[in-house]
Symmetry: C2
Subunit: 402 residues, 2 copies
């Protein structure tokens, strides 16, 4: 298949591009390299020393003989070039990772809130319009998040996208209706993924586009079979307060002897997936498109769920790291349940990588290997969710700790 | 109260600005004059000869002694200036009409689809961020549309924004939940209003903004008490295939002896409201804000519902105009029910203007007075909802009529 990977230079995009190329697909990465720019702007760097995209691609060709193409293009701001690319390429599938993907970054301040909405919504919509106009048979596979639903679970599983509800009609009779599972996003980033759902619903209905939306859990780990082949292929690894995801942050903290920083009580339950399952899920999703005219196919891309404190204990038990409770910069429920259905991926053949796997040790070892690159000042969260949290945590930290 | 009217030069915005000024409020119009630009670009003009905004404002001052301020500003593209305006003004309320508001225009082609999403979402989000940062006590009153829900009514009334649903939990027990009434917008324009709902939900929840979202029916009529005071204050009147709303189009057709063009069977049921009720509803909504921390207040701003064919018959009976069925460029159900609750506005004192009122004659008379300004070529719809409709209607019209 001819596949365009939008955002193919990023944390999920790069290993996905390699995995799809390895599987024999003709892969083109489309990226504006914005993630590297944000690193530069915030003074961050990946824990792992990633090479330039051109070098990565050249190394892949050298090692495997396979060519990955690259288009430097901003889909939110260069719609005409995007149209030309889609019209000329008419890809079988496009995998869409090209959105700003960090919740804390999206809550950092007015500029980041606006950038996240403008970039994610205009980019995704530009792509939908390009497909509608120039390649309506292309299958769009989009990376969404479990976080669109918020975290206020109360005893029922989160199904795969849709919910049957009973409502009472004007004659007092019960009626059943299938609706999109209602979203209640907890950050501007999550909100954009919730808006995306409505964009997809519309274009699937009005233009019969073939769309799969993957609601992914929190990714951990960094290496896949393909990125391990050569140091020049290494994947990025974020541990900082803006882009680092919770388990990867814990693993780096453990590796350098820093206490594991748990926000609040750690009673928040979240869903997790290893990066090597991410790339496998994308491949499975690409191979299983909906037909034109069908509703959006929504899959939960998760391996398991766990509370943050249990996650910290898991890491602490293996490494001896201490656990430190720090004030939570997020406006969220202190504790919640979360049960997620991932039956479609299981049925498609996914054998989930669980948290007690040997890969946990591998990630700790990788963190130790690059521990000289850790900047301790980058670990604490800097983005507060609202004025109240801002005051509590950053302006009057004594009160917050009490 | 100090009130900013965003989009205050438009069809609903201008009479609202006058009405609020008349009621004693300190009104500032914020507008980028984009509606006039679109007229120029499409070669359209308002049936009524509207004056420049500066002349309108000067006439209002001359007649009433009241000053309306004007800021020429694009809220989607000039966020820093918007921030300064909000920070300096700290208005008690902002009324937000500053979105591209025509469904057919939003479906005209790729550029118009993108413009509608970029303009409406970035503009609304920029405003929410400005309020969060600089004036969190301001009450935001936004004009939404009944159309967010789609039109596939099946025996139950559309409530005011929220729906109680029953779901079955993991233990087989029923649970009740209040959710945003699920949306299923039928055009890119309607989709943007559906996205707006999620923006509002987030900012009400995360930052305790005070937000009222008005789901308005199709507006008819053009003059209010205030716009009638002087020819220089006259409101715009759109009858063309892009911006003309259905009843106003029928009234112009009747005035010039053109058959009433009904799309399809006319079995579509829609909600209607007269422009003079619009301005009254806005005033009522401004005066009845939610408190900080409350959920978004969602009101249905409609007077009554009717099928399009009944509407055509009403006009035909009064004027003798013929009825012509033309192919429907929209992808929508040929027929639907629609029952809408407008209990909040009734409770707040709205006395709805119904379609059998004398105002219907007034609008026909106004249309006749300006009938020399009618461009017949502008009446037919030009925007098809998707490829299928495009082919049926514009590329092979014989087949569509058959």
């Amino acid at each position: 298949m001819r596949i365009f990977v939008f955002g193919g230079d990023g944390f999920c995009g790069w290993p996905t591009a390699l995995h799809l190329s390895k599987s024999g697909h003709d892969v083109t990465i489309v990226d504006n390299l914005s993630r590297r720019e944000i690193d530069a702007k915030l003074g961050l760097q990946s824990l792992t020393p990633i090479t330039e995209l051109q070098e990565r691609i050249a190394a892949w060709r050298e090692l495997t003989g396979r060519i990955i193409h690259f288009e430097h293009l901003d889909i939110a701001r260069e719609a005409p070039r995007l149209d030309t690319l889609v019209a000329n390429g008419k890809p079988d599938a496009v995998v869409h990772f090209a959105e700003q993907r960090a919740a804390p970054y999206s809550m950092r301040g007015p500029d980041e809130k606006r950038y996240t909405v403008d970039n994610n919504i205009s980019g995704t919509h530009n792509l939908l319009v390009a497909l509608t106009q120039h390649s309506p048979d292309t299958h769009l596979v989009h990376l969404g998040t479990m976080g669109v639903y918020g975290y206020s679970g109360n005893g029922f599983s989160i199904p795969e996208g849709y919910l049957d509800v009973a409502v009472t009609d004007d004659h007092g009779q019960p009626q059943s209706r299938e609706i999109l599972f209602p979203t209640k996003p907890g950050s501007v980033y999550h909100m954009t993924k919730s808006l995306d759902q409505l964009l997809f619903q519309f274009y699937a209905q009005n233009d019969a586009l073939k769309i799969t939306d993957l609601h992914q859990g929190i990714v951990w780990g960094t290496q896949t079979k393909e990125t391990k082949l050569d140091p020049r292929l290494i994947n990025r690894f974020d541990y900082d307060g803006e882009y680092g995801t919770v388990l990867n942050r814990f693993l780096v903290e453990a590796a350098i002897g820093h206490p594991l920083t748990v926000h609040g009580t750690g009673g928040q339950t979240r869903a997790f997936i290893h990066i090597r399952d991410t790339v496998r899920c994308i491949e499975l999703a690409v191979g299983s498109p909906p037909q034109r005219g069908e509703k959006v196919k929504i899959l939960n891309q998760v391996a398991e769920t766990l509370t943050i404190i249990d996650l910290a204990r898991l890491v602490s038990d293996r490494t001896g790291a201490e656990i430190a409770h720090v004030p939570n910069p997020r406006a969220e429920a202190a504790e919640n349940e979360l049960v997620v259905s991932n039956e479609t991926f299981l049925a498609l053949g996914l054998d989930p990588t669980l948290l007690d796997s040997a890969l946990l040790e591998g990630t700790i070892a990788l963190s130790k290997r690059h521990s000289d690159r850790v900047d301790l000042s980058m670990i604490p969260a800097r983005s507060a969710w609202n004025r109240e949290r801002q005051k509590q945590i950053f302006e009057n930290p004594q009160a917050a700790a009490a």
